[in-house]
């Protein structure tokens, strides 16, 4: 196989048709791979206003141009589709080694359309694909599904699958591979709606590079740079288990459904406390960082719980929203979500929302099947996770996510629903980290930190410049910079964490060039332009589906309620100038005041074919 296979599989589950199709040269040049192929083909295949859970929705499972090589931190993969949670563009990134296996099978991506009559899975081998019955797998956890398929098809098999949450159409179901998940935006829900339980790939490790000698020299250089980086060693030691040791004193750790920016007694959840439960490390394909940390609970009410995690976001999801400081409960909750195949961020956020509704009397014990949703009650949180995945009782409502729960309950509940475009917000308080806040507001997938992370305000990174994290309009350029950088990085679907390991500015383009032979990549400006092209095409996808300025907003809480940080910086902060920010952001993006990419901008980015879709 070559680093870019220039082929994809097109599978129609309604009629059973499987077609191998070429990726035309110009698309490879214009979009390079990864996120580029994802949005490019999704835009082409999708009709506006398609119901995300109908057979007409398209699901893409995409690997990157560097996947499967010996380069470090680059073998990730992603799911692209129209989100059932938001109705907008969705992309969700995952690790483990499925991305490498997809490449070994001879394809850059798999496009899945239609809906099977009964549960099925795809079995992809080198240059072949079969649709097989998944009757025996339906109802199984993500772990058991993978174990069964690997047993059936052999040890050279890797699997991406859904659990019961996806089968039951929980709106924020994830796609799991090993114990990593493409979690956000409900990609697993779309798989469930298609009766697609899993994609299993059986392949031998082999790959042909355009220029293997140069590539191997570059990898040696990459490894040298990685090992010289302090972050490499720090991340290898603790992964993401210490981030809350810092976000709490910064006042940006959301607590009690985003009322507070710091948790009392957060030291009980410190990285050092998690270390006491640690039983090992794990890694993605070709990554010596091994940042994944395994945790095992050996005693108490959660004895026997184990998790390849939780990561920072999941630590937060099962502590901050309900104000829990019991580590064992966070490990148990993380395990459940991984087994059921459910996004931890949306799950934790939605549960925190339910706790606030309970406090305010908008949900009662009668509504909650007798559960007392009082702050800190982690036992009820565990029960709710099970109920959501199985759509039992109150879980059937909460499985819809905060936006739909608020609409169903009414009585002002929407004031406490913490989502953007329907996607629940993650573990950074937007009033204390406003670049991230405005990124949530303008992100094409909704409230995601991963869409345009702001290292400037969380880590004090001076690149491209230092920022005041409480400034608003002044930071529009930074929000754009971060979103475009994200898209550029995801062309190769490289790990977001490796951005701080010192190799990207120097080597990313060179590795892509040596792997693909696409000459334009030699120009660093070209990669950046493709990143911007991707953000604009994602935006066009959303505009075509009815999104615009009105949806680029933040939850009422952040616009009307001052943040309380319990002594940390940022007390009293609010988002005060959303409209002015949007004016500036759109202007700098080359979009109209309504948030629509202008014909000039689309032409400049080589997206002239999109102009007519924008109503020009």
């Amino acid at each position: 196989m070559t680093a870019i296979t220039r082929k994809f599989l097109k599978v129609n589950l309604s009629n059973g048709e499987v077609v191998e199709a070429p990726i035309i040269e110009q698309v490879a040049i214009d979009f390079i791979g990864g996120s580029g192929f994802g949005i490019s083909y999704l835009y082409q295949e999708s009709k506006p206003h398609t119901d995300p859970l109908s057979e007409h929705n398209t699901l893409l499972v995409v690997t990157g141009p560097l996947a499967g090589t010996n380069a470090q931190t680059v073998s990730r993969w992603m799911v692209c589709t129209k989100s059932p949670l938001t109705g907008a563009f969705a992309r969700s990134v995952c690790g483990a080694d499925f991305g490498a296996w997809l490449k070994f099978s001879g394809y850059d991506f798999i496009m899945i359309e239609g809906k099977a009559e009964r549960p099925v899975y795809l079995h992809v081998a080198e240059n072949s694909c079969q649709i097989k019955s998944a009757d025996e797998l339906w109802g199984k956890s993500t772990l058991e599904t993978q174990e069964r398929l690997i047993k059936l098809h052999g040890k050279n098999t890797r699997v991406a699958c859904i659990g019961q949450a996806g089968e039951n159409l929980v709106k924020y179901a994830s796609v799991a591979s090993a114990r990593r998940t493409a979690s956000r935006c409900g990609g697993g829900t779309v798989m469930g709606s298609k009766n697609l339980k899993a994609v299993a790939i059986t392949a031998q490790k082999k790959l042909q590079l355009q220029d293997p000698d140069t590539f191997n020299k570059l990898v040696k250089e990459q490894v040298k740079l990685l090992r010289a980086s302090k972050f490499y060693h720090h991340h290898k030691d603790v992964g993401t288990t210490t981030t809350h040791d810092v976000t709490n004193p910064l006042g940006i750790y959301p607590v009690r459904n985003f009322r507070y920016g710091q948790q009392n007694d957060y030291e009980k959840l410190s990285g050092e406390e998690y270390r006491k439960f640690r039983t090992g490390d794990f890694s993605c394909y070709s990554c010596s960082v091994r940042c994944g940390k395994k945790h095992h609970v050996k005693s108490g009410p959660y004895a026997g719980s184990f998790s390849n995690g939780p990561e920072y976001e999941s630590i937060w999801a099962f502590s901050g929203p309900i104000d829990n400081t019991t580590i064992e409960a966070t490990i148990a909750a993380d395990q459940l979500c991984d087994d059921f195949g459910m996004d931890t961020i949306s799950t934790g956020n939605t549960i925190g929302f339910a706790y606030e509704l309970y406090e305010r009397g908008l949900l009662t014990k009668q509504d909650t099947d007798g559960l007392e949703l009082t702050w800190g009650n982690h036992s009820a949180m565990i029960d709710l996770i099970k109920k959501i995945a199985r759509r039992e009782g109150i879980g059937n409502l909460l499985a819809e996510g905060t936006m739909r729960v608020a609409a169903a309950i009414g009585k002002g509940a929407e004031a406490y629903a913490i989502n953007v475009k329907g996607l629940e917000l993650p573990a950074y308080e937007p009033r204390g980290a406003k670049c991230l806040g405005f990124n949530y507001a303008t992100s094409n997938i909704g409230g995601s930190h991963g869409y345009g992370y702001a290292p400037q305000e969380v880590f004090s990174s001076p690149i491209p410049r230092q920022v005041d994290r409480f400034a608003e309009v002044e930071n529009a350029d930074i929000v754009i910079y971060n979103q475009n950088e994200r898209a550029t990085r995801e062309l190769g679907i490289i790990c977001a964490f490796s951005g701080m390991m010192g190799w990207i500015p120097e080597l990313y383009g060179k590795l892509l060039l040596a792997a693909t032979g696409i000459d334009q990549i030699a120009d660093p400006g070209y990669l950046k332009m493709v990143g911007e092209r991707i953000v604009n095409l994602e935006r066009a996808f959303n505009v075509r589906n009815g999104f615009g300025r009105k949806q680029d907003t933040l939850p009422q809480r952040f616009l009307q309620e001052p943040l309380h940080t319990r002594g940390a910086p940022g007390e009293g902060q609010m988002i005060r100038a959303l409209d002015a920010f949007l004016d500036q952001y759109y202007k700098m993006r080359g979009w109209t005041p309504d948030g629509i990419p202008s014909p000039q901008k689309l032409d400049e980015l080589g997206l002239s074919y999109v102009v007519k879709d924008m109503g020009w």
Binding site: D237, Y312, G502
Partner: protein
């Protein structure tokens, strides 16, 4: 040696908005000691209970990481120190 510390935003609250300060010392560690003497609350954000630099703090000297020498790294007149949080939230 007379060295400048370019204060990162995560310490602005402690330095009351001061963004640049002069310190003296022969090594990065001595310069940070002087910095902490000027702004005592900064200590708990930079050093753990055993007085060791946190793993999540990286020190740059004239734009270049001091890792692995870090606090032992010698400084010269006119050098600039900058601090960075090394975190990741996935």
């Amino acid at each position: 040696m007379r060295v400048q510390i370019k204060i990162p935003p995560f310490l602005f609250q402690i330095t009351k908005g001061v963004k640049l300060t002069n310190v003296t010392g022969n090594t990065v560690g001595e310069c940070l000691e002087d910095f902490v003497a000027q702004f005592p609350p900064a200590k708990k954000l930079l050093f753990n209970k055993d007085n060791k630099l946190f793993g999540h703090i990286e020190i740059f000297l004239n734009g270049v990481s001091t890792f692995p020498e870090e606090l032992e790294k010698p400084v010269h007149d006119g050098d600039t120190i900058f601090l960075l949080y090394l975190l990741s939230g996935g």
